[in-house]
């Protein structure tokens, strides 16, 4: 039996008895992914498109009901676009750029996230997580039709794992009873409560924040603009220490109330009580209470923590299973997707015998670094929103009081620093910058900034392979790599990649991070950087 832990939004991968279940032969899989959330699905899709078989085991048959993650970053959309799932997300999602921060009745300031021009994807979209997962599964179905070796097995719950040398034995429960399979690599993408992590008795340490947040997703026709509104000390009744209003697709609005630590959880989840809060908030904004439905409600507390090591032999952790942050800054699902893209090409090379096992240590090192950066940003936001001491409350309120009047204090106001990919500065797989006076944003270790190229965008040309990108100058002619030559760069491309230089040659990883850059094409340097990038230097 496989117990139902939550209601699913829709069925995407209904249970089917696997062919091997009745046989005495134990199935053998190169890669088994535990958990079919955004991270597991993106990883399976990336691996499958590279031709490496990926089996996803999920104990439900589709995404859980509820909006859950709602803010997806430009980097996540860039990843999804490379995987063939991005466009439907952007089409369905709510694009937003303007945020307003209020203190009591007054607006402190507004900000515009709209980055510069010349990017395929917006800075952020709001999209309910079940949609995000559905579009990934749609892309997986499409990839499967084109021969990608991906399987998703619903109602398959991993009950037990045992590491046995290089192999992991996996016991799986299904509605038809248990069966066994063996995996060369087991990737745990099974969420913050990761059963895999618990089965392996691994620790997950960090800070617990003593605060409760109430989420109410409401469906209503309302004239609020498509903006993120955040209140410190909201003026409406029973709203707690802060509140957030944010639009999602399908006329759904995310409302968050910061309730504090000592609350009666069950009482606060009483729909009448939630409605009283929502009524007060909406009427303070519109003068009346519009008709609305409560779509989803939840109370969450949060922690900022991570596993000490993301890799344990042939078991690897990704996403919330490996690290957890507060929701402020949208650094949960977005960082998990960056884990998936970092891992996919490395695992693919290893399964194909083209790189040494040590390459996977770079996954752990790079993404542990990314997790630390996210935890730092998330902890700082949380410390601002929930001051821990009397004096931190005094300074927080001083910032808010000054911010309404003077611009200088606004950068201190922290209701979440929104997710951007980390730069792997000085990490071993990258090559020292040979153009230190070229733009810092495209230095080795950084995720390539997008830019217009002809009628399209640069990132479209960086299609998941090691790529030599030559900007101006001559076309590269050296090692058998995927070469992209842009003889006549657009001004924005030149601004983002050349700066004052006339030309440049970049070597780019399959995950669109810059390995190294040089003022002129030199095949020996490219080869050396490439060896280093797969852990062979």
């Amino acid at each position: 039996m496989v117990a139902t832990r939550y209601e699913t939004a829709y069925q995407l991968y209904p249970y089917e008895k696997a062919a091997g279940q009745d046989l005495d032969v134990v199935e053998h899989h190169p890669v088994v992914i535990v958990g079919g959330g955004p991270v597991g699905l993106a990883l399976a899709l990336d691996l499958g498109k590279r031709g490496t078989p990926a089996l996803v085991l999920d104990d439900h048959e589709g995404p859980g009901q509820g909006s859950k993650a709602i803010c997806f970053s430009k980097r996540s959309l860039d990843i999804a676009h490379r995987l063939g799932a991005g466009q439907p997300m952007v089409d369905k999602g709510v694009v937003w750029n303007v945020g307003r921060v209020f203190h009591g009745d007054g607006q402190l300031f507004s900000f515009n996230l709209q980055p510069e021009e010349g990017h395929r994807n917006p800075a952020f979209i709001n999209l309910q997580q079940p949609y995000f997962e559905k579009f990934l599964v749609d892309a997986i179905r499409q990839a499967q039709a084109n021969g990608a070796p991906i399987q998703i097995r619903g109602k398959n719950r991993v009950r037990h794992i045992e590491q046995d040398g290089d192999i992991t034995h996996v016991q799986v429960d299904t509605p038809d009873g248990p069966y066994q399979l063996d995996a060369d690599w087991l990737i745990a993408c099974d969420g913050a409560g990761s059963p895999t992590r618990k089965m392996m008795d691994l620790t997950f340490d960090g800070r617990v924040f003593e605060d409760n947040f109430l989420i109410a997703d409401v469906r209503m026709k309302a004239d609020f603009p498509t903006e993120r509104w955040f209140w410190f000390h909201p003026p409406f009744k029973h709203s707690g220490a802060s509140a957030l209003l944010h639009k999602q697709p399908d006329d759904v609005w995310r409302i968050d109330f910061q309730l504090g630590w000592d609350i009666d959880r069950a009482a606060e989840l009483d729909p009448d009580r939630i409605r009283a809060r929502v009524d007060a908030m909406l009427s303070s904004q519109t003068g009346t209470v519009p008709d609305y439905d409560l779509v989803w409600t939840s109370i969450y507390t949060f922690q900022c923590r991570r596993m000490k090591n993301f890799r344990h032999g042939s078991v690897i952790f990704a996403g919330d299973a490996a690290h957890q942050v507060s929701p402020f800054g949208a650094r949960g699902a977005n960082s998990g997707l960056q884990d998936a893209e970092n891992l996919a090409w490395k695992l693919d090379l290893i399964v194909k015998g083209q790189a040494d096992l040590s390459l996977l240590d770079s996954y752990a090192q790079e993404r542990e670094f990314g997790a630390d950066e996210n935890i730092l940003n998330s902890s700082r936001a949380t410390d601002f929103m929930t001051p821990k001491t009397e004096i931190s409350t005094i300074f927080r309120n001083a910032v808010l009081d000054l911010a309404g009047k003077y611009a200088f204090a606004r950068p201190f106001v922290n209701s979440g620093r929104l997710s951007v990919p980390c730069t792997y500065d000085d990490m071993p797989l990258f090559t020292a910058d040979a153009m230190p006076d070229a733009p810092a944003r495209s230095r080795p270790g950084s995720a390539c900034p997008d830019a217009p190229v002809d009628d399209g965008f640069l990132l479209d040309l960086l299609d998941g392979q090691f790529t030599v990108l030559a900007i101006s100058g001559d076309a590269p002619s050296g090692p058998a790599l995927f070469n992209v030559h842009i003889p006549d760069p657009s001004p924005l491309l030149a601004e983002r990649y050349l700066g004052a230089h006339k030309q440049a040659v970049y070597l780019i990883r399959p995950d669109q991070h810059v390995i190294g850059r040089w003022p002129a094409y030199d095949p020996d340097k490219i080869c050396a950087a490439l060896q280093r990038a797969i852990g062979k230097a």
Binding site: F395, N397, A398
Partner: protein
């Protein structure tokens, strides 16, 4: 850059009086809030992180 720890205000008595006068009649809470705002205004005016770090150290009476 180092923080200035030698006399630098031309009218020390006048400034000191002005500082205390700003707190006249305030509750301890309101004074604490005023101090916090003042620190933020001054810190922003200085701007230089190394000076601010040195200033924090000096204020904690730590050896430089």
């Amino acid at each position: 850059m180092a923080v200035t720890l030698t006399p630098n205000i031309t009218d020390p008595d006048g400034f000191y009086t002005q500082l205390l006068a700003a707190h006249d009649g305030l509750s301890i809470e309101d004074s604490a809030a005023l101090n916090a705002r003042l620190i933020l205004v001054l810190a922003n005016h200085i701007g230089d992180r190394s000076v601010l770090t040195a200033a924090l150290k000096a204020a904690k009476l730590e050896d430089s």
